[in-house]
């Protein structure tokens, strides 16, 4: 490693009521700079890591690629733990959907107006919506609580945050796969024929999962630092379920339809429905059937832009969050 006289900010002096900085231009010890120290495996310095984008990205990508093994194992253990400490195990993955089906069947027998058959049975509509809602909320919660869940690991190890993110995504994908299996049973029970674009419907579900992941990661640092967000998140799922067409389809010109028009998630959910059981489905007001794919691609584009940004945010935030745990 070559030593060059690169200045590291070094010395402070106390003067007056506030401690002011004095920059040393000839520090007593010289060190290689973050850019020039190519031989170093890792460099931790006081400057913003993002000021050295090449080395930051090189390290981030290296961590991303190197953390797959750990991510796979964390994912496997997380699933095992989930069922180890639960008497009813996997039942809980299906419980909300099963309960919804029972309630809606009772409601339909009571001939409630909003539960009349459309293109699909109301049970199918509601369970499908519930699965989409659960997928989004679970993905968001998994990533939002990333730092808290792995606190023991992060405060004692240089565990790459990438491995923890990937483990969370894998866990959510596993949950989604289970739900898709449940959905197949629901379709069979209520004789619903999927459309030929059903693979795109699954793509839609994946986009919803990615939206939840992205939002969760963007919130993760703030959630780790302040518990206020936890309180907000206690209310958020209910608000989300209420403002998104999950349980019953929007009646045209109804006040709810107007609310849904302003909720971008409503379009993504509806596009996923349209692509899964397709023709005859009444799309969101103002959106044609052919526009549904554009909506999903638009949502995917949002994820492509924001997910790496959220990843970088979490990577930058990690040491500060660990530090706050040590106070």
């Amino acid at each position: 490693m070559t030593s060059s006289a690169v200045v590291f900010r070094g010395h402070v002096s106390v003067s007056g009521p506030r401690i002011k900085e004095t920059r040393l231009h000839t520090p007593p010890h010289t060190a290689p700079s973050a850019d020039s120290a190519g031989g170093a495996h890792r460099i931790y310095h006081g400057g913003s890591a993002l000021r050295y984008p090449r080395s930051f990205l090189r390290q981030a990508i290296s961590d991303l690629l190197g953390s797959w093994q750990a991510a796979l194992r964390l994912f496997g253990q997380s699933i095992a733990q989930k069922y180890r400490y639960s008497a009813l195990g996997i039942f809980w993955a299906f419980a909300p959907a099963a309960l919804t089906a029972v309630l809606l069947t009772v409601g339909k027998r009571a001939d409630l107006t909003i539960l009349r058959d459309g293109i699909v049975a109301p049970q199918v509509y509601a369970i499908f919506g519930l699965i989409l809602g659960q997928t989004f909320l679970e993905a968001m919660a998994t990533q939002r609580t990333l730092f808290l869940t792995h606190r023991y690991l992060l405060s004692r190890h240089q565990a790459p945050v990438e491995g923890l993110i990937i483990a969370g995504i894998l866990e959510n994908l596993f949950g989604l796969a289970m739900k898709v299996g449940l959905l197949a049973l629901v379709f069979l029970q209520w004789k619903t024929i999927p459309s030929v674009t059903v693979p795109l419907g699954i793509f839609g579900m994946t986009v919803i999962l990615l939206l939840g992941t992205t939002l969760g990661l963007l919130l993760a640092p703030w959630s780790a630092l302040k518990r206020d967000l936890d309180n907000v998140m206690g209310v958020f799922p209910w608000a989300f379920m209420g403002l998104t067409p999950i349980f019953v389809p929007p009646q045209p010109d109804s006040p709810m339809a107007e609310i849904y028009r302003w909720n971008p998630f409503a379009y993504v959910f509806d596009a996923t429905r349209f692509l899964t059981y397709g023709y005859g489905h009444q799309p969101m007001p103002g959106v044609s059937g052919s526009g549904m794919m554009t909506i999903l691609l638009g949502a995917l584009a949002v994820c492509i832009v924001l997910l790496p940004a959220a990843w970088i945010l979490c990577r930058v935030a990690r040491p500060y969050i660990v530090e706050s745990y040590l106070v």
Binding site: M1, H45, G46, R51, Q81, Q158, E323
Partner: protein, 451 residues
């Protein structure tokens, strides 16, 4: 090439959780906006590390010692990349670095086996190698069937055994150790010690933060002493441990002064109770020393006559040299007496900085018998072997009447302290005694084992 290079490293911390969270949020936003951290202290912050320069080469074991809060753990955490420096830089020139601590990053809800897999995965081992090493780790830890129980159900000793078994199989180039080399039962500790000795002999490097004198002395090639986030001294383990003990003594003295402990004074009969004293009192006007008398009044101790004043006190080694542990001590005192006093005692009390009396000596019971004459008087004595450990100590001196021990003059402790220093020596046994917070060191003639 060094394995670890630390330059101009400073790290600030905030003590108040509310402010810490606020600063963390600001710092995250600042860094995301590509701005460097401000290098001044904000309200509630302090420098946990300040201008640290340190390098660790392959095959080298560097010890870090210091009192609680000196910055040892912070240094390990920054070197490990767990915390970010505020100023300066840390270069880690190997991918094979392992942080070792008591908890070992073990998850309490996962089984021992799962924890082994996790730790190995986090250190880049692939599935095949993990499978190869698994049985060896379990055997080393001696956990048997407990390996499939959640770690939260383990005793502390079992956790330590599991963590150390994992460490011993990771074979890194550099261990960063935070107070973690002891634990488990004796058999396991000896096994792990053998592993470390073998690791070092094969070129492994360790940065070891510890309070444990034995570990530091037995493993380290070099040592640094940290105090309030700064490197105070660097040298051989023996030198630095000795310096640490000295620093600890200074801190204790400072703390004692802050506490403003009550004055320790020899008890003596009151002036009114003693006819000899009364006589002297009448002749001299019976003045009470205001300096010591007022303090004693506060603490309830007895009055001191202002008959004898101390002009000088010297406590030195032979020929005015340094004092050494269990070495000879010469004491010389010059006093001025207002009156002739036929029969007196010269009392010396030796104590710690915190005024804990260790020994009380009295000269004049004879021979020789002492007396004071009006004017200047000089007295000397020698302690052949003063069994005190290195550090700063205190003495108090008094001249009293022989029969009733009325205090004619007193010097020492609070208002007029007499301090003397036993100089540190690089002796392992003495260092050990210092770390055990012993007060005295008793020289022993050790005999060979009788077979």
């Amino acid at each position: 090439m060094k394995l670890l290079e630390i330059y101009n490293l400073s790290k600030r911390y905030c003590r108040e959780p509310k402010l810490a969270y606020k600063y963390a949020a600001r710092d995250i936003l600042r860094e995301t906006a590509c701005k460097d951290q401000n290098d001044f202290l904000r309200p509630g912050e302090f420098w946990a590390l300040r201008d640290i320069h340190l390098q660790v080469a392959p095959g080298e074991v560097v010890g870090v010692i210091g009192h609680n809060g000196a910055g040892k753990s912070t240094l390990i955490n920054v070197a490990a990349g767990i915390l970010r420096p505020t100023i300066g830089a840390v270069f880690v020139n190997t991918p094979r670095v392992v942080v070792m601590d008591y908890q070992g990053g073990l998850s309490p809800v996962q089984t021992g086996r799962e924890n082994i897999i996790n730790q190995f995965s986090l250190h880049g081992m692939d599935g095949r190698r993990i499978a190869e090493e698994m049985e060896s780790v379990i055997a080393y830890s001696d956990l048997g069937s407990f390996i499939d129980a959640p770690v939260g159900t383990y005793s502390l000793g079992m956790k330590v055994r599991l963590a150390f078994s994992i460490y011993s199989h990771l074979r890194p180039d550099l261990f960063l150790v935070d107070e973690a080399l002891n634990g488990g039962d004796l058999k396991f500790r000896m096994k792990f010690q053998r592993f470390l000795n073998d690791y070092i002999s094969k070129g492994g490097a360790i940065l070891l933060a510890s309070h444990d004198l034995f570990t530091i002395q037995s493993l380290c090639h070099r040592c640094i002493l940290m105090d309030y986030g700064q490197i105070k001294a660097e040298g051989t383990p023996e030198e630095i441990i000795s310096r640490y003990a000295e620093l600890a003594g200074e801190r204790e003295s400072a703390e004692w002064k802050e506490m403003n402990a009550p004055v320790l004074s020899p008890t003596a009969p009151t002036v009114e109770d003693d006819p000899v004293a009364e006589g002297i009192s009448e002749e001299t006007g019976g003045e009470i020393d205001e300096a010591s008398g007022s303090k004693q009044a506060e603490t309830g101790a007895e009055a001191v006559l202002n008959l004898v004043t101390f002009d000088s006190v010297e406590i030195t080694g032979p020929d005015g040299g340094d004092l050494t542990p269990s070495g000879p001590v010469d004491i010389r005192v010059v006093v001025t007496s207002r009156e002739d006093v036929p029969s007196v005692l010269w009392g010396i009390e030796i104590g710690t900085g915190g005024l804990f009396p260790i020994a009380s000596l009295a000269g004049g019971y004879g021979p020789p018998e002492y007396s004071l004459r009006k004017g200047r008087n000089e007295f000397r004595c020698r302690i052949e072997r003063l069994p005190l450990l290195p550090g700063k100590h205190q003495a108090a001196m008094a001249f009293t009447t022989r029969e009733s021990a009325i205090i004619l003059g007193f010097k020492g402790y609070q208002d007029a302290p007499i301090t003397f220093e036993i100089k540190p020596v690089t002796d392992r046994a003495i260092n050990m005694a210092l770390f055990r917070k012993n007060l005295v060191h008793i020289p022993v003639e050790w005999k060979a084992r009788i077979d």
